[in-house]
C-alpha cells in the first residue's frame, strides 16, 4: 500500500461512466464542476452548511464540498443535470416552476435533489417530514413557502404518476 499523489477513480455520473485521474485533494464538488463541466451544482459555504452543492451519492443527499472525489470512487452520483429525461423536465423540476419554488435559483439544484432524496425515501411525506428534511438546505430568497409548496406538489405528481 503506497501513498499516491494522484488517484485513478471511476464513477457513474448521471448514468454515464467517468474515469478520471485526480489529485487526492480534489473534492467531489470540484470534480463535478470543473473536470466534468456540470456547473448546475453550486458552491457557497464549502463547509456542509448551505446545501448549494448537494448531489446524490448512491441515492443519498450529500454535500459534494465536504467529500474528496477519491472517497466517491465506485459510487453513482446524480447531479441536477441528471434529472431531466429526453428534454422533459423531471416532475420535481416542473413543480418548482409551477409553485414559485425559486427566485434567484442558486439554491435550487440542491433543493430539487434534496426533494428527490426525500421522495425516494418517503413517497408521501407529511408537512412536518418535509420541513425537517428540507430545513437542512438554505435559501436566501423565497422564505421557503414556495419550496414547501413545490415539494408537496411534486410528491402528489409523482404518486399519481405511478
Amino acid at each position: 500500500m503506497r501513498p499516491a499523489k494522484t488517484m485513478k477513480i471511476e464513477l457513474k455520473v448521471n448514468g454515464k461512466r467517468e474515469r478520471r485521474e485526480v489529485p487526492p485533494s480534489r473534492t467531489l464538488l470540484e470534480l463535478v464542476r470543473e473536470d466534468l463541466g456540470l456547473t448546475g451544482t453550486k458552491a457557497y459555504c464549502h463547509s456542509g452548511i448551505c446545501g448549494a452543492c448537494t448531489v446524490l451519492l448512491d441515492g443519498a443527499a450529500v454535500s459534494s464540498c465536504s467529500l474528496l472525489a477519491a472517497q466517491a470512487d465506485g459510487a453513482e452520483v446524480t447531479t441536477i443535470e441528471g434529472l431531466a429525461a429526453d428534454g422533459a423536465l423531471h416532475p420535481i423540476q416542473q413543480a418548482f416552476i409551477d409553485h414559485f419554488g425559486f427566485q434567484c435559483g442558486y439554491c435550487t439544484p440542491g433543493m430539487v435533489l434534496l426533494t428527490k432524496a426525500l421522495l425516494d425515501e418517503v413517497p408521501e411525506p407529511t408537512r412536518e417530514d418535509i420541513v425537517r428534511y428540507m430545513g437542512g438546505n438554505i435559501c436566501r430568497c423565497t422564505g421557503y413557502a414556495g419550496i414547501l409548496a413545490s415539494v408537496e406538489a411534486a410528491a402528489k405528481a409523482l404518486s399519481t404518476k405511478d
Binding site: 456542509g48 448537494t54 451519492l57 443527499a61
Partner: protein, 295 residues
C-alpha cells in the same frame, strides 16, 4: 486545499501499519464532514490522508449481529443516519437514535460516522453524551495491539481525546440496557439546525413497576470542555417517583455541574439556564416513555 498523498487501506492492519510509520503527519478521514472541511479551510494540513472508508472491517455490521444479547456493536463507519433509522437501534437503544436524529442536517448525517463523531472530540457533538449515558466503550487498534476505553474516559478536552497518533478507532460497543430503560436527548440551537448547539442533554432512566427510579444517568454536551456527567443530580432520583418539583431540582443540580464558556452562543449564566431546561425536558421525556412503556 494543500496537496497531500493519499492511501486507501482495505484492512485495519494495513491502516495501523501505515499510521505507525506516519501517524504524526497523517490524517484519518472517515466520512470527511469535518476532516475535508478542515483541510479546505487550511486548519488541517496533513502530508498524508488515510481514507478508512474502504475498510470492510469498520463497516456497520461487524459480525452480522447488531443487537445480540451482549449489546450493540457499531463499526466505526456506521453513519449517524443509519443510527437514526435502524429499527434494531430504535428499540432498546432509543436514546442513541434520538440523539442521532438531531445531528446537523440530513446531508451531514448521511456521511458522518459514529467513529468520526467521537474522534473529532468537538464538545458540541450530540452522540457522545448519549453514548456515555448508555455506558458505551471504544475499541482502539494500533499496530501493537487493541485496547478498549470506556467513552466516559475518552474525551480529554476540546478536540482532544485519548487517541494517540497511530491509533484507529474500530468499534463502539453499547451494552444492552436492562429492560425498562428509556432515554431522550434534547438540544437547543440558536439559528438554523446545523449551527452548534448552546447545550445538549442525554438522559437515561430505569423505573420499577411502581414508577420509582432505579437508575438514572444525565450527561450534558457543549457546557464544558468534555461531556459533563451529572452524578449528584442523577442520584437525587434514586428510589423516587419523580414529580415536577423533583425534576426541576434535578435539572438545577445538573446545571451546577456544568463548566461552560462565554462565546457567541451565549454567556455562562445563559448556558447554565439552558442546560437545566434541557435536562428537565429530556428527563420528563424519558419518564413519560417509561410510564407508557414505549421506547
Amino acid at each position: 486545499m494543500r496537496p497531500f498523498e493519499y492511501v486507501r487501506p482495505t484492512t485495519v492492519g494495513e491502516a495501523t501499519d501505515f499510521l505507525r510509520e506516519h501517524g504524526d503527519d497523517a490524517l484519518v478521514v472517515a466520512g470527511g464532514t469535518a476532516a475535508v472541511v478542515m483541510m479546505t479551510l487550511g486548519v488541517l494540513r496533513p502530508d498524508y490522508v488515510v481514507d478508512v472508508g474502504f475498510i470492510p472491517e469498520l463497516g456497520p455490521e461487524l459480525d452480522g449481529s447488531r443487537s445480540g444479547g451482549a449489546g450493540l456493536r457499531l463499526g466505526a463507519l456506521t453513519t449517524v443516519r443509519s443510527i437514526e433509522r435502524d429499527p434494531a437501534i430504535a428499540g432498546a437503544y432509543g436514546l442513541l437514535a434520538d440523539a442521532a436524529s438531531q445531528v446537523a442536517n440530513v446531508r451531514v448525517r448521511n456521511r458522518a460516522t459514529v467513529g468520526g463523531s467521537v474522534c473529532y472530540g468537538e464538545p458540541q457533538t450530540d452522540l457522545p453524551p448519549a453514548l456515555i449515558a448508555m455506558g458505551a466503550s471504544a475499541t482502539i487498534a494500533a499496530s501493537t495491539g487493541v485496547r478498549t476505553v470506556p467513552l466516559a474516559g475518552f474525551f480529554e478536552g476540546p478536540y482532544e481525546t485519548v487517541l494517540q497518533a497511530g491509533e484507529l478507532l474500530t468499534e463502539i460497543t453499547v451494552p444492552l440496557p436492562e429492560p425498562g430503560t428509556f432515554g431522550c436527548h434534547a438540544k437547543f440551537t440558536v439559528g438554523s439546525p446545523e449551527n452548534k448547539p448552546v447545550a445538549n442533554a442525554s438522559v437515561l432512566v430505569r423505573t420499577d413497576e411502581a414508577g420509582r427510579c432505579v437508575e438514572a444517568r444525565i450527561v450534558m454536551g457543549a457546557v464544558g470542555p468534555v461531556p459533563v456527567v451529572a452524578e449528584a443530580a442523577a442520584a437525587l432520583l434514586a428510589g423516587e417517583v419523580p414529580d415536577a418539583k423533583l425534576i426541576a431540582e434535578v435539572a438545577a443540580r445538573a446545571a451546577d455541574a456544568t463548566d461552560p464558556q462565554d462565546d457567541l452562543r451565549g454567556p455562562v449564566w445563559y448556558k447554565r439556564r439552558i442546560a437545566a431546561v434541557l435536562v428537565e425536558r429530556a428527563l420528563s421525556c424519558a419518564l413519560r416513555k417509561a410510564g407508557n412503556g414505549t421506547r
